[in-house]
Symmetry: C2
Subunit: 348 residues, 2 copies
DNA sequence: CATCGCCATTGACACGTTTCAATGCCGCCT
DNA sequence: AGGCGGCATTGAAACGTGTCAATGGCGATG
């Protein structure tokens, strides 16, 4: 057996150069600007690369260029299908330009978001797509100050003078839910919200109220708000009791949840009490995650274009990276109501 | 306003050194071995770091050390909650040791798995946790040859002489499902499998057969296999027709699905035909994803310790990274059946 | 035949960090 | 007082790559 590996020292560009009988610079050219090197030597170099199993060292490369060729995607909860679908969109578009995507999970925690931002800055990431915790854009701005272009996605808000952003019109989403429920004759609606202070929830609630006001209903009287600790199914399930109990007025005939996860929890909670949607309570969710169409009855929900959201964000980022004098853009989608079985006309 | 940023050249360790009136080496020491530097200078350096907003460049650091401090996690489908829960486990354990996790999505495609492996090799990742596409461990082995320690997770198989691995006993899982269904009086069972050739599916099926044989039933007569194109809900929904049609014998009274996603699709498909589990068909899934407990009826399923799987894999990897003379281990979990409403005694 | 220009290739340097042997300083012991 | 040990700090080298001005060879042109 021949000594195929002369030493355990990793093989570098110089080893390849030696083997092919050329200089290191030429090898680098073969890798990065193949057109500048003659056919013959290019083949010799390529063979050497293959024979030595050379893989280039991106530390060296990035050090030299001052920039890495991967972008970061900071997501609020890898476990939530909404975010992973967004991630798909980002990945697919990034792949078109040969950029690698590093998926980072802030788990809705400010400290982890900060850690992620630091990591990306240390790696001199080419860019970042950030869905900020609690709409806290400080880390995004810090990243930009460090020279890492960042795009804001889905939450939070910054002026178009500082960064690109992609969002969905939560006001319109809330209003769409309102119109749907009104059309079915519901006039006492509970809004099941997440933790207090989430801008996202507040806006959807406001949309709901405005939708009610549109047809002359008094939002204050018609809607009651219940807060939960987290935007997940468990919280939704626990909240059922409080939702059903009703407010100072009567028991509600419909509930509009800030989130599909919450809504799914509510559906489960109803089942456990021998009740069900829509006969005992009409239920509307928000997001249209895959599960929404799998449960029975299907969940009526305000659908967000998740995949497109990711694509759009990545496109904006690419635009900023490639175009030297780029001007920030704001892309805003309008959500669409998807009607399934969890809502029906009010019979009370 | 003072010129807070003298130039747009990024600030490096030398700028910090100059500002603090020390050498670059000392700054490096403050960062990496603070105990070697005197209290006074340490504070001076820390102040300079803060004032200049210095963040260290990991390219330089990694170049010097020959190794990066992040590990890669190659996952089959970011969209599937099973994998994201595993990812959580990996992340949490990695965080204990200050390692960053780069989540890469192979999307069940061999070429993307290869690309991911290449990326990790180029970055000289500290290690990798790989869930191989089709059990194809070639890329894992290649990574190891490149000096990147890799742990095998959930699928595929390599001897303990080449790498650590973590898996769940699919044979036992299949048998558990079998015993449950037999106990309920089912004797004609359809196994709803994924694409042909998936080792994972084959083993679960074999477990099912062995479970039946245990009580003297003829596996060949009792179980029929239906293949789907993908392991997702859509495929499951489409397969309902074929499942219900039954084989050369009678129509089945129960279906055991290779995957919760498939099972959820089946439940939906039944509903669309005015049928339901468990009265028309008992349904058993595999994985116990969150949705399994949210649908109505709840999905009886073979639960895998997803989070623990991720933790275990990362622990093994850490062990290999820290212990110079490390010997590979094989960790194997036993799944547990979770009984919910989608299965009942056979009344036919 | 001499000169010019073109093209492929080279060689050296820069990127930002870590490491390690060498330096200088101070206090302690004899 | 002189010498020695310990400790904080320094300076230079090294990591692997990309870039760019300089080099050398070759063919074409006058």
């Amino acid at each position: 057996m021949e000594p195929s590996e002369r030493a355990d020292r990793p093989v570098g560009i110089n080893d390849v150069a030696a083997r092919a009988g050329v200089s290191a610079g030429t090898v680098s050219n073969v890798l990065n600007r193949p057109e500048r090197v003659s056919e013959a030597t290019r083949r010799r170099v390529e063979r050497a690369i293959e024979e030595l199993d050379y893989v280039r060292n991106s530390s060296g490369r990035n050090l030299r260029s001052g920039r890495s060729d991967s972008i970061g995607l900071v997501v609020l909860d890898v476990t939530n299908p909404f975010f992973t679908e967004v991630a798909q969109g980002v990945e697919d578009v990034a792949a078109e330009d040969g950029l690698a995507v590093v998926l980072l999970n802030s788990a809705e925690r400010g400290d982890r978001q900060r850690r992620s931002a630091r990591l990306l800055a240390e790696q001199r990431a080419a860019g970042a797509v950030v869905m900020p915790v609690d709409g806290d854009t400080a880390d995004l701005l810090w990243l930009r100050k460090q020279g890492v272009s960042g795009v804001l996605l889905d939450r939070g808000d910054v002026g178009p003078e500082v960064a690109c952003s992609v969002s969905v019109d939560n006001l319109a989403g809330g209003a769409a839910a309102a119109r749907h429920l009104i059309g079915l004759g519901h006039e006492r609606i509970t809004f099941l919200s997440g933790p207090e202070g989430l801008e996202q929830c507040r806006t959807r609630l406001q949309g709901l109220r405005e939708g009610l006001a549109e047809v002359g209903l008094d939002p204050e009287a018609a809607v009651r708000v219940v807060h939960t600790a987290q935007l997940n199914a468990e919280s939704g399930e626990k909240a059922v009791e409080e939702v059903l109990a009703g407010g100072p007025g009567r028991r509600p005939t419909a509930v509009f949840c800030a989130n599909d996860q919450l809504a799914l929890g509510v559906l489960k909670g109803l089942g456990e009490r021998g009740l069900s949607a829509p006969s005992d309570l009409s239920v509307v969710g928000y997001d249209d995650v895959a599960t929404a169409s799998l449960v029975h009855p299907g969940l009526t929900t305000v659908a967000q274009p998740k995949y497109e959201l990711g694509c759009a964000a990545m496109r904006l980022l690419l635009g900023e990276l490639n175009d030297p004098d780029h001007t920030h853009e704001r892309v805003r989608y309008t959500p669409e109501l998807v009607v399934r079985g969890s809502t029906a006309v009010n019979r009370r």
